[in-house]
Amino acid sequence: MKKRLSVALRIALGTAAAGVLMTASGAALAADPLRIGVIAEAQAIAGASIPQAAQLAADEINAKGGVDGRKIEIISYDNHSSSADSVRAFQRAVNEDKVNAVVASYISEVVLALEPWASRLKTPFVTPGAASNEISKSVHADYEKNKYTFHGYLTSAALALSVCDAAKDLLVDRMHMKSAVIMSEDAAWTKPLDIGYEECLPKIGLKVLDHIRFSPDTTDFTPIFNKIEGSKPDVIITGISHVGVQPTVQWKNQQVPIPMFGISSQATNETFGKDTNQAAEGVLYQGVSGPGVAVTPKSVPFAEAFKKKFGNYPSYAGYTAYDEVYYIADAVKRAGSTEADKLVTALEATDWEGTIGRVQFYGKDDQFTHSIKYGKGLITGLMLQWQDGKQSAVWPKDVAKVDVKFPSFIKLSN
């Protein structure tokens, strides 16, 4: 009798212990975080926002209970704007820190260096800010191998389209401009951009008079502006990112009478006004977001939360990085797994309203596989202008708050 009881007791105890163990392992599984590696340029303004925005998104998701009970953990690495450092960081992120996905860089050269590593290490990888067409073209060319790479920002081709769409409304229809000179820095991302410009500018009625490509380490832009003035265009269409402060300041100091319009990544930074001592006044630049511009209901709350936490507004890559953490989390939830191939399939099905518009990816058969879709109702980009020391949206009409205006040294020919 006594013995039997003890057996029963033992069984009961055993069951209880097993139960405890099971719940413990269950809890361990739930607590096992979803790890996202963030590799970015901590010293560059565009890059510095990337890990900050990713962390903000992770904190918000975690505060609401995480992804199916799993917390998101952001592990960030500074790549010093170097491809070699980025590759090392990527390897470390995957092999040692066991990340499930990587968000990395705003520099095309860096992203192109990481792309083969995403394939080799079979780790989903999204870039928040690089623009080269080659990123998504490689996915298209060898889908099975390169499907792990996603292009979470507009391609140069789409950027050119965005600039042209805005130029048609603002410059051609409203100001009756007829000619342009393209001025772009010599880098991987501007090659397809320039091709895009050359194709779409004549279509909207802007004749391309000249095309100047210059080395990204140019410091004196006087000869370039001189040459541009010589061909008397109505507008300078820009494609600059590595440079920005210097050409803008010299444009103002030399009082070049031609407006600048196009892509000027540094102008998207809130600090650009101060860095240029307000020479930025009148500069028109393409962006996907801007302080106070409600592209979607999420844009302004994100920008304000970011400013509250970090003291400044996010760079363009901050917006995209924030969205990326959200849609990676969403994909993990839909896939029910962090297994790379399943995650890729889930990411491909992304339909996420983020801070810069509605994010969907082009499919396997599109030319730019895994790049975000450009178009109305998706992402169109904005045109903004520095006015009175602030960035204000001037295009498209539904978000524009002010009209285009120029400093007094700009002489419009019409």
């Binding site: 004196d220 920005g244 402060v245 010299q250």
Partner: protein
């Protein structure tokens, strides 16, 4: 042409200090670019972040360059020169490496605190004037005038004052100077002070004229180095001539050929001069 003159004058100002130090103490200061950038960024920060005004900002920039130059001398160069453990014949290499690393440290600190985005110093004079039909920023003319004035002052200092003559003597024969009862260390300090002020003025002017970022450190050191080598190491007048040669060559290339190839002809010229006249245009050794 005026653009070329302003650029050349700036190069000259930057390179003069560089060559002076080499002439007097045999030090090739590879943190030169970093000191210039530090001056420009300090002037920017003082004027834009602390709102002290343009003139005060520029003065602070020059002050920072002076301090950095002293720091370079006392923290990097002097300990190496005084060290008993480093053989004399290896000291030059140690100084080269030391100043190079020091320059990189300054560069990284600037990038860390002020990001690697370019900064520009607010011009002291604004606006443009037409000269022979060319619209020229007044600041460019101002830059050229300041550079010429400073170089003229330097010439007066070296050739007309007691301290200057001691410096000149030290560059010709250091042992002779000590025999005359002058403390060599004091002369070095004077030279580093002159150098700091020159580099500071050049840095601040460059910040107004073109803008600088932490990326400019390498190219600035390289341009000063090649100008000094071209002109003849240690020769101030050689550096002046070389600065104008390089400045105009670069500007002409940018205007007539393509801005993308700006620096190439000057570097080719440097290689060519090294072949036919290794001591440089006016070099003594």
């Amino acid at each position: 042409m005026i653009d070329g003159f302003a650029i050349s004058a700036l190069y000259a100002l930057g390179a003069t200090g560089f060559t002076l130090i080499f002439g007097v103490s045999g030090v090739l200061n590879l943190s030169h670019g970093a000191i210039m950038v530090a001056a420009a960024v300090a002037a920017w920060a003082a004027a834009s972040v602390l709102n002290v005004g343009t003139y005060a900002g520029a003065l602070i920039g020059v002050g920072v360059a002076l301090l950095t130059a002293f720091a370079t001398y006392f923290a990097v160069v002097k300990p190496i020169q005084d060290s008993r453990r480093i053989p004399n014949e290896e000291k030059e290499i140690f100084v080269l490496t030391g100043t190079l690393l020091w320059g990189i440290m300054i560069q990284e600190l600037i990038a860390y605190f002020f990001t690697n985005n370019a900064k520009t110093v607010l011009p002291i004079v604004e606006g443009v004037v037409e000269i022979l039909g060319v619209r020229t920023p007044k600041n460019e003319i101002f830059t050229a005038i300041v550079c010429c004035l400073v170089i003229a002052l330097l010439w007066l200092l070296v050739n007309r004052t007691r301290t200057g003559k001691a410096v000149l003597a030290a560059s010709m024969n250091p042992r002779g100077v000590t025999l005359l009862g002058l403390e060599l260390t004091n002369i070095y300090i004077v030279v580093w002070a002159i150098y700091g002020i020159l580099a500071g003025i050049a840095g601040v002017l460059l910040g107004m004229f073109l803008g600088v970022s932490s990326y400019s450190v390498g190219p600035l050191t390289a341009s000063a180095f090649s100008i000094v080598v071209l002109g003849g190491l240690g020769s101030v007048s050689g550096s002046l001539i070389a600065a104008f040669v390089v400045g105009y060559l670069e500007t002409l290339t940018a205007y007539l050929v393509s801005p993308a190839y700006r620096t190439i002809p000057a570097l080719l010229l440097l290689v060519f001069v090294m072949y036919i006249r290794p001591q440089g245009l006016l070099g003594r050794r």
